[in-house]
């Protein structure tokens, strides 16, 4: 079946602009995660959605970052007033149920802020 998809695959923007990154999870997966990975680094947790529960936003680095998940499926990560330090690969993952169930990752969106 179809895996997790993300769009765009690459995004180049200018400092100060807003960007939206999209994630389509695997159908039926109730949990959705966003991570950020800077070059050569590990994954940094950003936000976690589980069903209809309030999302766990504890990993968002600043109030310029926000995410929503509509209808329990597609999610959008929005970064406002982008800064150069926001440049990274943004990875989305989904899983069937609970946090430690297997996470299936998308290919990521490479964001470059000039």
């Amino acid at each position: 079946g179809a895996g997790v998809s993300q769009s765009p695959s690459n995004k180049v923007t200018e400092k100060g602009k807003d960007v939206e990154l999209r994630c389509d999870p695997i159908s039926g997966h109730t949990a959705l995660y966003w991570y950020r990975q800077s070059l050569g680094q590990g994954l940094e947790f950003l936000i976690y959605f589980q069903g209809n529960s309030a999302p766990d936003k504890s990993g968002l680095p600043s109030d310029r970052f926000s995410a929503e998940r509509t209808g329990g499926s597609v999610s959008t990560l929005t970064i406002q007033r982008t800064q150069q330090e926001d440049s990274a690969v943004y990875l989305c993952a989904s899983s069937l149920e609970r946090g430690t169930d297997t996470q299936y990752f998308g290919p990521g969106t490479r964001l470059t802020v000039l």
Partner: protein
């Protein structure tokens, strides 16, 4: 949060067995141990998960001693295609939250 510690990097040769050990001294009773593999320019991919003793699948084996304060991922007869970063995660299946810290992982380089 249960912190995990892994070697930053390891080198091996094709055909050898590779063992990557992860320390998780503060592991809690409900915590499971999960390993992921990440190739360049790709998202991580699940390899194996276990709670205690030994788990084996078609890709790897996971050894967990009785005190569960560490775990060892074993890759039999590695090939060049096993060159990747390997992440150890510890988390609670009930709450889920604690499995969200990937850390820096172990960069495995397999040489011919």
């Amino acid at each position: 949060l249960a912190k995990t510690t892994q070697p930053i990097s390891m080198d091996s040769y094709e055909g050898q067995e590779v063992n990557i050990t992860c320390s998780h001294n503060n592991i809690a009773t409900n915590d499971y141990i999960t390993w992921y593999q990440q190739f360049p320019s790709q998202g991580p991919r699940f390899i194996i998960q276990g709670y205690k003793t030994k788990v084996t699948n078609e890709v790897a084996s996971l050894f967990i001693p009785a005190d569960r304060k560490s775990s060892t991922l074993s890759l039999p007869r590695v090939s060049l295609s096993d060159t990747a970063v390997y992440y150890c995660l510890v988390g609670d299946r009930q709450t889920g939250r604690r499995a969200l810290t990937f850390g820096s992982g172990t960069r495995l380089q397999v040489q011919p």
